[in-house]
């Protein structure tokens, strides 16, 4: 390619990148400036239930989605052409493209109405359903990225396939998988829609997942549209906290990636 054309393409791609980045940066700037101001005025006691709720709901979702998603992803990678794998991949694609509010409605109809109460568990199940296809696909791609020779190394030693998969293939794919999991956790921690009909929200501090539970995204949703500066400050502070959680998880993911790069160097 000639130099002027090369420069034109480089410039065009750079411009597309900047145009794409600007709205995101402006949104981030708005959240940070409003959030920092709100941090000074907000009553932290009122935010504490949402902080605890987000941690517990996300943890509950991880407990359900991570083992199931990793198991399903391993199956897809190890037995890719079985009928069950093809069906699972299709279902995973459909679930991955389903709006998260649908999971909330589904869990409401299936769990909340059956138990007769909104609860943290119902919220965790809804978040787990959002998380499951993500974990499944990142596990599959993480395992497939492991070189075939490494996947076969334990098999030629006479290891049973399950042991080879868990001890070698999964372990070799773990760095990439950890990064993807941290990103998936950040994504579900910020979900409000699946929690509207499930965890519902709770103004009181509660660690009981059997009861309705507050969460930062619910605080952003409810207080952001409420009148009064105190509620609005809570919403901005909650939004900034969600950004900080995502940033911290992102930093952790990069740290894992750097550590692996250094080890392989």
């Amino acid at each position: 390619m000639s130099r002027p054309v090369d420069r034109f393409w480089q410039g065009a791609l750079g411009l597309a990148f900047i145009v794409g980045l600007v709205p995101g940066l402006l949104a981030l700037w708005g959240v940070v400036t409003h959030g920092v101001t709100a941090f000074g005025t907000v009553q932290w006691g009122a935010l504490l239930p949402a902080i605890l709720g987000t941690v517990l709901l996300t943890l509950g979702a991880c407990l359900m989605a991570v083992p199931l998603g990793i198991g399903a992803g391993l199956y897809l990678a190890e037995y890719p052409h079985t009928r069950l794998a093809r069906l699972s991949r299709f279902v995973g694609d459909v679930l991955g493209g389903t709006p998260s509010i649908v999971f909330g409605v589904f869990v409401w109809g299936w769990l909340v109405t059956a138990t007769g109460r909104f609860s943290g568990w119902a919220g965790s199940v809804a978040l787990a359903l959002v998380m499951l296809p993500l974990v499944m696909r990142v596990t599959e791609s993480g395992v497939l990225a492991v070189p075939a020779s490494l996947r076969e190394a334990p098999l030629v030693l006479g290891w049973p396939r399950w042991r080879a998969t868990l001890s070698v293939t999964l372990r070799a794919g773990l760095p990439g998988l950890s990064i993807a999991l941290l990103v998936a956790i950040a994504r579900v921690a910020g979900q409000a829609a699946p929690l509207l009909f499930t965890a519902l929200g709770n103004p009181y501090l509660s660690a009981d997942l059997g009861q309705p539970m507050a969460a930062l995204p619910l605080t952003v949703f409810a207080d952001g549209s409420a009148p009064g500066t105190a509620a609005q400050d809570r919403a901005w502070a909650a939004a900034l906290l969600l950004v900080l959680i995502a940033a911290l998880l992102g930093i952790a993911a990069r740290a894992v990636a750097r550590r692996e790069e250094a080890r392989d160097a």
Partner: protein, 251 residues
């Protein structure tokens, strides 16, 4: 030590409808190194992988014919493929060390399950010695093997395969990706192992086969062209195709 020979009877191997190995019948004698040579894409590695049932792990792969170990078909449904692969060991083309394990751990991972801990150190040293690599790593047993040169890692893979205690050892282009120095030491170890095991070496390098193999077979487009003791194969080949390949007149 048991003397185990391996017999392939009319083995054909396919990927879906594509036939890669055609009607190959070969006998691999105990305490001999049998080299299977041929140009790239001649079906050498695929044939080798039918011998320890690694071929069947590839999606769409299947085979016909029989492979007999001690007179028993290894494809008998009653035979556990994992247990079979402990008796028919294999060294892969790439030096693949098991992640999260040091040099000692990588060798110990192949030892029979349930071996007393007190015997593990001795067995690890024995395997490394048999592979001719003990002197190179005895002071680095706690090292991450990923920090070692590729050639040394491949020699560790040979030691690891020996630690499993196989009767037959399959070697799939084991020196193709390593430097000549380590490749030569690898060959030396194989030459010494001839007195203990049945060795089947797949290589595209006729010189390697000429140096260390007792018997050599030329595979061409998945079929056997010629099998002969190496001294005859390389000096007085009977087939014109063998002669053409050995002299580089046939790609």
């Amino acid at each position: 030590m048991r003397e185990c020979g391996l017999v392939a009877e009319r083995v054909s191997a396919m990927f879906g409808k594509r036939s890669v190995v055609r009607d190959v019948s070969l006998t691999f004698q105990p305490r001999q190194l049998h080299a299977v040579v041929g140009p790239p894409q001649s079906g050498k590695s695929t044939f080798l992988r039918t011998l320890n049932r690694m071929h069947e792990l590839t999606v769409g792969a299947w085979m016909t014919g029989r492979v007999l170990l001690d007179g028993r078909d290894v494809y008998d449904p009653a035979i556990d493929p994992a247990a079979l692969r402990r008796r028919i060991g294999m060294v892969l083309p790439q030096a693949s060390v098991l992640p999260g394990l040091d040099v000692r751990g990588n060798i110990a991972a192949a030892l029979p399950h349930g071996l007393e801990r007190s015997r593990q150190g001795t067995e690890v040293e024995r395997a490394l010695t048999r592979a001719g690599v003990w002197a190179d790593v005895k002071d680095r047993l706690a090292t991450d093997p990923r920090q070692l040169p590729e050639g040394l890692r491949q020699r560790l893979c040979l030691a690891r395969a020996l630690a499993a205690g196989p009767d037959v050892l399959l070697l799939d282009e084991p020196t193709a990706a390593i430097d000549p120095g380590h490749g030569f030491k690898f060959e030396e170890a194989l030459y010494a192992l001839r007195s203990e095991l049945c060795l089947v070496l797949v290589t595209h390098d006729p010189r390697q086969a000429a140096r260390i193999a007792d018997t050599t077979t030329l595979l061409w487009l998945g079929a056997v062209v010629e099998t002969a003791p190496s001294r005859l194969f390389f000096t007085r080949p009977t087939g014109t195709r063998t002669e053409a390949w050995l002299t580089g007149r046939s790609a």
